[in-house]
């Protein structure tokens, strides 16, 4: 029976979108009204998301999953596209509710953070609208009960990402990402915000296209986009969409195509190159979109379709290629991005690489889950999502801290910070906690989540051992770059830049900033006039530090709760969810039996952390000298610094040829071949015409001659016909 509580899952995503629109109207009444509307919309959405936990018989999730659509919405019979039999609906199940809560609450915290961070910027109406619109679309994506609606949210967040990366669309040099002058293979690697936004949009678009093709292939057989219908069809008959697709050899391709969407959105190899440059946006945006929420959409997508495929085929061989692809790409991306994070000097870029890397872990977890379908699907599945949750929290925290750091130091480079632990205590401790979580040091959340992924990879066995090993190495690197980052920022001597700020409390923030090449692009996030080094090194305003200290606290809390009950409860929850769809799977985490992978990864993380400690906290080991002195290490450094040259290769392979090719085609074909037809065709007529004109001599005798010829012609015609 329909009741008005069914409206809530809809409101979860409608409220922020509506709030965004409302904030545009409220902007007429003033900036404060606009901000309040925007933030409150986000808060309401978060509260609604939480209320989903209490909606009906949801916890513990039993066989009566609540699947809602408009049909049951307060008795309303409205459908979305009636003629095509498509309905708009929401799915309230453990996966969506958990994710919706993470998204909604992190979003709310970042909205609060934005109040302080974006204060004094111009065009804030656009900012708040887009942020709210993003939140709404993200929740729409998470809560959709069908592919098409999901795709709406999917592209919606993509657009917000594009628009917010390019928020400072005037493209002043200070907003650029990358160090001016950087180039590899003659491809410049510093990008303006609008360029970065465009790059993000087009690159994710490539993935989205694969995604769209994938769902349309499924649609071609199932005639539905609805997840529930897809499951029901699987159970309804042995001749279903999955077997039909499989019979024409398109099952695995379609699955991998859908995964292509995840690759794009979650910045996995080979479509990972957009995310580091997305850091051109405001840091609050990076925290929200490019760390905590949108980039996880791909993981969510794999988590949504993965069980579908497992439910489709009990035999491993059918789905094995898909899950192996997911796991392999995840593990490789984790390694790839981690190596790049080791060498970057830009704080936000380190975090961006780290995000890519961590999402790689999640993909690894979800991938290995399917490699041993029946035994421990739930294990990897839970591990992946647990890591998603913990990463969302600690990475959002890291970004928010970074936002303040960049703001207060007036530089985006870590080398221009240093020794800040005394000046910014709250920021320091918050960042330390979330950083340790990233480095997977117990007892913080990151440790438990990542290690269960590794444990799952270990359990899967077979090919997954390689991936397991890759994951282990990555965890060493992760710990290293985390400590490098923390050390560079908070320990060691203060950089020149900071000393200048410390001594110069008034006047323009940094008189030399406009001239010195390293600092011209440094002032990302310093749009606000009353901050940014003007007043020296000081702690963040409350609206900013409260959100990130909350996140640090939550990281600790989860870290403590995880081994005791949280992880197992999460596993049980997902287990019942999977069981509902007919996947028999029991959550099987056992810390004792998985002692080996856990201790291995901890050991490696500690090694990495120790190197980082030596190099950047204790500073007894001068790594930069070491690297520069050794040509092998130095070329490795260059290789990592230039993103394995992948970025420049992409530009050389795709962007430049298309740009040049289009001009070539235009000049050589369109203007040389097609256009002349316009001129040639009439001149052909003209040529014929002038021949005919020449006959017209104006001499009577010739006219009479022609007359005679005409008679002759007629006689010939008649004679010819007569003979026949």
């Amino acid at each position: 029976m329909a009741s008005c509580t069914d409206l809530i899952p809809f409101l979860v995503w409608i409220v922020p979108i509506g709030g965004g629109a409302l904030s545009v109207l409220a902007a007429r009444a003033g900036g404060t009204a606009r901000n309040i509307v925007a933030v409150v919309a986000s808060l309401v959405s978060a509260l609604l998301a939480t209320s989903l936990f209490f909606l009906g018989d949801f916890a513990p999730y039993t066989t009566t999953g609540r699947i809602l659509d408009v049909q049951t919405l307060c008795g309303a019979q409205a459908t979305w596209i009636a003629a095509l039999n498509l309905r708009a609906g929401v799915l309230v199940d453990p996966l969506t509710v958990v994710l919706a809560n993470v998204v909604a609450w992190v979003s709310f915290l970042i909205m609060v953070y934005s109040l302080g961070y974006m204060k004094g910027e111009r065009n804030l109406t656009r900012y708040y609208f887009l942020m709210d619109f993003f939140i709404g679309n993200m929740l729409l994506l998470v809560m959709s009960d069908n592919f098409l609606q999901l795709f709406l949210g999917w592209e919606g967040v993509g657009y917000c990402s594009y628009a917010l990366i390019g928020f400072w669309h005037t493209d002043e040099e200070k907003y650029w990402v990358g160090t001016p002058g950087d180039q590899s293979l003659n491809v410049p690697e510093a990008y303006s915000p609008t360029h970065a936004g465009m790059k993000a949009f087009i690159m994710t678009r490539a993935g989205d296209i694969a995604f769209l093709v994938g769902i349309l292939l499924i649609f071609a057989y199932s005639r539905t986009f609805n997840f529930v219908s897809l499951y029901n069809q699987l159970h309804g008959s042995s001749n279903n969409w999955a077997t039909s697709l499989s019979s024409v050899g398109l099952f695995v391709p379609s699955a991998i195509l859908i995964f292509g969407g995840a690759i794009g959105k979650s910045a996995q190899f080979p479509l990972h190159e957009w995310l580091p440059d997305a850091m051109a946006g405001p840091t609050s945006v990076s925290a929200l979109i490019h760390a905590a929420t949108m980039v996880n959409a791909g993981v969510f997508l794999v988590g949504t379709v993965g069980p579908l495929y497992v439910a489709a085929f009990s035999t491993l061989s059918e789905v094995y290629p898909f899950f192996l692809t997911v796991a392999a790409i995840g593990a490789f991306t984790a390694f790839l991005a981690a190596t790049q994070a080791m060498v970057s000097d830009e704080l936000k870029k380190v975090l961006a690489y780290s995000t890519v890397s961590q999402i790689g872990y999640m993909m690894l977890g979800l991938g290995v889950a399917g490699l041993s379908v029946t035994s421990n699907f739930d294990f990897g599945f839970t591990a992946g999502f647990f890591h998603l949750i913990s990463q969302a929290l600690f990475k959002a925290g890291l970004f928010m801290c970074a936002g303040w750091l960049i703001h207060v130091t007036g530089s985006k480079y870590m080398s221009e910070m240093g020794g800040l632990r005394k000046d910014l205590k709250i920021t320091f401790y918050s960042m330390l906690i979330v950083g340790l979580s990233l480095a997977a040091i117990p007892p913080f959340s990151g440790f438990w989540s990542k290690d269960s992924i590794l444990a799952a990879a270990n359990q899967a066995g077979g090919a997954a051992y390689v991936l397991f090993a890759l994951g282990l190495i990555t965890s060493l690197i992760t710990a290293f770059y985390t400590f490098r980052m923390l050390g560079l920022i908070f320990w060691g001597p203060k950089s020149e830049n900071l000393q200048r700020i410390g001594s110069n409390h008034v006047g323009s923030s940094n008189p030399n900033a406009q001239e010195s090449p390293t600092t011209t692009a440094a002032a990302a996030g310093t749009g606000s006039e009353d901050h940014g080094g003007k007043h020296g090194l000081h702690e963040a305003p409350r609206s900013m530090w409260i959100p990130y200290s909350i996140l640090a606290g939550v990281t600790v809390a989860i870290g403590v709760a995880a081994p005791i009950f949280l992880e197992r409860d999460l596993g049980d929850l997902f287990s019942s969810y999977l069981t509902y769809w007919g996947i028999t799977s029991v959550y099987s985490l056992n810390y004792l039996s998985d002692l080996l992978p856990i201790s291995l990864s901890l050991a490696l993380a500690l090694i990495g952390a120790y190197i980082g400690y030596l190099g950047y906290i204790k500073r007894s080991l001068n790594l930069s000298v070491l690297v520069k002195s050794n040509s092998f290490l130095y070329s490795g450094y260059k290789f990592f610094y230039h993103r394995w040259y992948l970025n420049s290769i992409y530009y050389r392979l795709f962007a430049y040829p298309v740009e040049k090719g289009s001009r070539w085609l235009f000049e050589k074909f369109e203007e040389k071949v097609i256009d002349p037809i316009n001129i040639e065709a009439p001149s052909f007529g003209g040529a014929v015409s002038s021949i005919l004109r020449r006959i017209q001599t104006g001499i009577e005798e010739e006219y009479i001659f022609a007359f005679g010829l005409g008679i002759a012609l007629l006689i010939i015609i008649f004679a010819y016909i007569g003979q026949i």
Binding site: G685, Y703, A706, F707, G722
Partner: protein, 505 residues
């Protein structure tokens, strides 16, 4: 014969019409010799005569003056639908020409004799379309031609006008001779000069076609070809049209040319349906149609003189009309008749509008037409409309008849699809030069912005013509019905004489 009985049932409409016009012509000459040379009076009288004549013909067509019966026995004249259809077309042209001549002759002496000659030409044309006897056809033909020579050379002091008249006369004389020879050959073969008598079964005993018949056919076609402006008998046309006073060109290209199609239809569809001539003359027509269209339209492409462009357009349209003849079906004739009716207004309108503009700007060069659209009001619009109609654009009358013509070719049992394709290509080519004139008038910048004078006579003529063009285009039904009735009744005459069309499977 009692006078009332003579007119009973208005069977004597053609006689009445010619008498009215003849009287009008003599009145004009009389008044002129009495010293009353005012152009307005002459115009008034001639227009009145034409309008009354047109009213009589239309009264007959619409059934107010009794039904149209068809050819009766041995008479030299036939009152069938064809004669009325062509009569209407000729009179419309004559009215338009007369209306605009009032102003056109402003600086030319002897205006009244111009009108008399115009009326005589019209009388000749009307007689021609009513004639059913070969000799009568020849007489009417000459009656029509001789005044038109004079009209062509009417500008006595103008070198070009004189030259045009001479050319026209020479070629026409030659054509008359050839036509007469052809007619005599027909008489040799059939023993009669009456077209409908030749239909009788007695004369159709011979089988196959003799060389004499071939000669007869060829000579008749060639003779008519001069007036029909069929290529390669068209050579005189551009020169004559360019040299003649432009209103006379309108008369020549629409009036006398249109009229010639009537005897052509009679001779070919009736006379040559006789088995003595049983041959596929359609193919000859198809070839002539193709040549005329192609030469006319392509040659016009690079002309710089507007009158020459219109002259070539006239040649091209002669080709279009011949498509319907070549199709050899009632449908084809419907299309041809329809197109003749439309062509009469389109071409007259185009020539008259061009006449006015040329007179005002002083030259018939395209460049002189630059920006005329901003300097005059009615004439450029009328010219644009008529050119678009000639090009076959909706919603103008030329569109419909062209569609019908091409359709009839495709639907013809003779597999004339190629002719339709050629026609369509030509139609495409033709818009190039039609629109070139339009472009010069509207797009190009004029040398001066001063307004040019438009007289009322021209205005009335052009407005009437434009209204007919648009009206027929928007609601073509009645005109198509007229053409269709004409064609079908014509065909039923043939079939009533138990003849089928020659060589049509």
């Amino acid at each position: 014969m009692a006078f009332p009985a003579f007119f009973s049932g208005f069977e004597a409409v053609p006689l009445l019409v010619t008498m009215i016009m003849a009287v009008a012509a003599f009145v004009i000459i009389l008044l002129s010799s009495l010293g009353l040379r005012a152009r307005t009076v002459s115009t008034g009288i001639s227009v009145a005569a034409f309008v009354i004549s047109l009213a009589l013909l239309l009264g007959k067509v619409l059934g107010y003056l009794g039904p149209i019966l068809g050819p009766q026995g041995n008479s030299v004249f036939a009152q069938d639908w064809i004669s009325y259809l062509f009569g209407v077309a000729i009179l419309i042209v004559s009215i338009l020409v007369a209306l605009s001549s009032e102003d056109f002759l402003a600086n030319i002496p002897n205006a009244s004799s111009f009108f008399a000659l115009l009326i005589f030409t019209t009388i000749g044309s009307v007689l021609l379309v009513f004639s059913t006897d070969l000799l009568m056809i020849f007489v009417a033909w000459e009656l029509m031609s001789i005044p038109s020579y004079v009209l062509t050379g009417f500008k006595k002091k103008d070198q070009e006008s004189n030259e045009a008249a001479v050319k026209y006369f020479l070629i026409s004389a030659f054509a008359s001779a050839v036509l007469l020879y052809g007619i005599s050959l027909i008489y040799v073969i059939t023993g009669t000069t009456n077209i409908y008598q030749i239909l009788s079964p007695a004369s159709s005993s011979a089988s196959g076609i003799t060389p004499i018949a071939v000669l007869a056919l060829s000579f008749v076609i060639a003779g008519f070809g001069i007036k029909l402006s069929a290529v390669p008998f068209h050579m005189w046309i551009p020169d004559a049209y360019q040299g003649a006073p432009t209103v006379v060109s309108a008369l020549l290209s629409a009036g006398t040319k249109g009229a010639t199609f009537a005897p052509a239809a009679r001779i070919f569809f009736v006379l040559f349906a006789g088995s003595a001539f049983q041959t596929d003359w359609s193919t000859a027509f198809a070839v002539l149609a193709l040549l005329s269209m192609t030469v006319g339209n392509f040659a016009a492409l690079t002309q710089r003189s507007v009158t020459r462009i219109l002259a070539y357009s006239s040649i091209g349209h002669g080709g279009y009309i011949l498509i319907g003849f070549a199709a050899g079906t009632a449908y084809g004739l419907t299309a041809s008749f329809f197109h003749i009716l439309n062509y009469a207004t389109m071409q007259t309108c185009a020539f008259l509008a061009a006449a006015l503009i040329i007179r005002e700007v002083g030259k018939d060069d395209l460049l002189a037409f630059d920006g005329v659209g901003r300097r005059m009001r009615i004439a450029p619009i009328a010219l644009t409309l008529s050119l678009l109609a000639l090009g076959g654009f909706p919603p103008l009358n030329g569109f419909w008849s062209k569609v019908f013509l091409f359709y009839s070719a495709i639907g013809s049992p003779l597999n004339l699809g190629w002719l339709a394709i050629a026609g369509i290509i030509n139609s495409f080519v033709s818009i190039a030069f039609y629109l070139r004139i339009v472009k010069h008038m509207y797009v190009d910048q004029p040398q001066s912005f001063s307004k040019l004078f438009e007289s009322n006579g021209f205005r009335v003529a052009l407005i009437i013509a434009s209204l007919i063009i648009v009206g027929t285009g928007v609601y073509p039904g009645p005109v198509i019905q007229f053409a269709s009735t004409t064609a079908t009744s014509f065909f039923s005459q043939i079939s009533s004489a138990s003849h089928v069309l020659p060589a049509i499977p």
